[in-house]
Structures are given as C-alpha cells and as structure tokens.
Subunit: 205 residues, 2 copies
DNA sequence: CGTGCAAACGGACCGTGGTCCGGTTCTATT
DNA sequence: AATAGAACCGGACCACGGTCCGTTTGCACG
C-alpha cells in the first residue's frame, strides 16, 4: 500500500540510472573519437569499451549491438538537422512555398545520406527501425506532399520519392556507375515534379 | 618464344580447373540443402564446407566471403527469371505492349525481392555489385522506358522506378508498417504511370 | 544511517567470419 | 611419361561480435 505514492504511469519505461547515463555519454564520445582516428572499421566494441574505460558488457547493455551503437551515433547527428527542418530558415525550414521546401528537403537529405554513408551502412537494419531517422523523413515528406495537394496514396508516393536517395542506392550510383551528384540532383527534382504534378489514375484506389 | 602458341586473350581471365568447378557445384548444392534445413542463419561457412566435404579455406577461395556465397546462390536462382523476361510468354516476356510489360516486370521483380528477402539481405553489398542482379534490372527498365518514349534522364528514372521495390524498402513496408502487398502493387503502378506519362521539365537536362 | 533490491558492471567465454601457409593435385609442355 | 609450376586444398589460427553470470553500485524507503 505504501509503495506506490505515484501512479505507475508507464509513459517512460524507466528513468536511467545516473551511472548508466554517464557511461552512455562516455561511450558515444569514445566512439566518435575512434571514428575520426581509425575510421568506422576501427570502431570495435572492445575498443570503444576500452576508450571509455568500461567493460565490454556495458557497451552491449547500452546499445544492444554494434549496429545499435552506430544507429545511436546517427541519431545524435540527426537531431540538429531535424531542428533545421522544423524551425530553421527557409527553404528547408517553414516559410517557403511547399515545392521549394520539398526540393530543399530532398537535396539536403541526399547530402546527409551521402556524407554518412559508411555510418548508415554500419547501422544496417537498426537505422531503419530507429524512428528518428526513417520515421521523421517519411512523415515530413507526406506532410509536404499533402501541402502540395497531391492526390493518391500519399504514404506510398512519399516512399517512392525518398527511396532513390537512400544511402545504398546513392552509393551504387556515385561510386560504381560514376554518376555526378549534380545529375542525380537534377534527376530527383524531375522525379519530384512528375510525382507532384501528375493526377492519379482513375482506377487507382 | 615457344611458350605462347595462342594469343593471350584475356576475355575470360582463366578457365576454372576441373576440381575447382566440381567443388563449386558441390558447395552451392550444400548451401542450398542447408538453407532449406536450417534456414539462412544456419548457413555457416564451416557447415557448408563440412556438408560439401571440403575444407573451410576452399569455400572462401571460391566465394571470397559469406556475402559472396549468398550472391552466388542468388545469381543461380535469378537465371531462369531473366530467361523468362527475355524470352518467356507475355506480358513478362516480349510481345505485349511496353506499358503492360513494364507493369508485369515491376510486379514480378517485387515478388522476387520479397521472396528472397533474407538471402538478399545476407548477400549485402555483394548483391549490388553482382552484375547479374542489379545490372540486368537496370538495363531492362531503361529499355522499356525507352520503348515507351519517355523523355528525360532515362537511367535515373529507371533507378527511381525500381528503388521503391528494393528488398530493404519492401521489408520495411510489409513487416513494420504492415502495408498490404496489393496496396504496394497499386501504388507502384501509379508511380510508373506518373513517371511515364509526364513530360520532363523544360529546364531539365 | 542502514537495509534491500533492481539495475548496472566487468570480463571470461563462445561461435563464426576471414586469413595463412605448407602440402597436394591438376595441366601444359616436351 | 616425366617435369615443372601454377592453382588448389585443408585446417590451424586470429579477431571481433555477442552472451552469461557472479559481483558491485546507486537509490528509495525506513
């Protein structure tokens, strides 16, 4: 009876213990340091643990896996970009006409996917499941398509629009097919226009 | 002087030695057997070697890496699909109007990317570099877009069209967002129509 | 302060991908 | 058939991701 003075609200599953939080920060810093020293392939779980001065098990407790650690690093650097999109200066931020925002959004996202290509690849599937990255992009694209008055299955059109600038596909185009970035940018803008301007088929749901 | 009766034509880098070829076949069979018994996660390089009755080193000599082995398995199963596309019955094969062929092509590719999702993921980047898979799809899509009289950067439009039905993206939609396959199919058909019917922008290169 | 316990910690341990090198086998040439 | 040498084979060996469990630590309550 005396054990529950507060309602057991389960919104946040549990607050993090202070030593745990400290270690999380130390580990992220250590990983960042290692990346810029040895490159991503030098970021070994054991190395990170040693650099942060903790045991190996602790790293896995915090991030579950190597992919999880990479995803965490990604999330961290993604935070300010999301801030730029939600409240920064136009055309990326609010204020510009929707089509300009969409173009700026795609262009900016493309740069990120290219710049962090290695990290994204190292994050593997963990990157996709992380809401921070995937879900935000999807939601905002849907929003912009809605603002533009696009008819049809907005969710799928948003996916179709962002898929070609996913990191894996850009890497293929840039590194192997040697396609220039400017050309890819122009191609994507053309794609956006085709998707936005064209009304859906009559028979389409 | 006497050592080169034949011109050193380097088209095929070298013919494979007979024992090597035998081992390659045995290894592919062994891997296939293991997949249907234990699933893909049970396909260990050591297990494959043991099942084929060879040493571990041999597996790596033939396929370079686990990803390479998976890519080889993929290529194998992809061969007859390519035959269907190039010479099978319409609408997938030649004979049907281009738009019908394109729709059939995308639909069929989607099924494959879904059915072999695990294998494709396990093949990782090796799947992309393998010409058999990526290059054929790209080439044929470009060809169909050309037949349809699409203007603009055909290569990039082809990429944009196929990207949303890549395995990784389909997995995200189907397994996590719980989007039905029929809906995805319809959405892709709509995308194809938007890309094909819309003329390119004036300013586009 | 003391006490109880959930949570966090550390590092030994395991499985698997990948490398290496001494020994073996195939094939071209005479 | 004999020879030479390149290609191939095998399995010991290493590194790294991931797990496990006995121990320690922070925290809430008395």
């Amino acid at each position: 009876m005396s054990t529950h003075p507060l309602l057991p609200i389960i919104g946040e599953p549990r607050p993090e213990r202070s030593d745990a939080a400290r270690n999380r920060a130390a580990l992220l810093e250590a990983a960042t340091r290692l990346i810029e020293q040895c490159g991503i392939q030098g970021v070994t779980m054991e190395a990170v643990a040693a650099e942060a001065g903790v045991g190996k098990g602790t790293v896995f407790r915090r991030f579950h896996s190597r992919e999880g650690l990479m995803a965490a690093l990604l999330d961290h650097s993604e935070a300010d970009w999301q801030a730029q999109v939600m409240g920064g200066p136009p055309p990326l931020g609010p204020g510009a006409p929707p089509m300009e925002r969409l173009l700026a959004f795609g262009r900016s996202r493309m740069e990120i996917n290219l710049r962090h290509a290695e990290l994204i690849q190292a994050a593997g599937r963990a990157g996709a499941r992380s809401y921070a990255a995937y879900s935000f992009v999807a939601t905002h694209t849907r929003y912009l398509l809605g603002e533009l008055g696009v008819r049809g299955d907005i969710a799928l059109l948003a996916t179709a629009l962002m898929a070609p600038i996913e990191s894996s596909i850009l890497e293929q185009q840039v590194r192997i097919e040697r396609i220039g970035i400017d050309r890819i940018r122009a191609g994507w803008a053309d794609l956006a226009r085709r998707i936005v301007e064209n009304p859906p088929d009559e028979g389409a749901r």
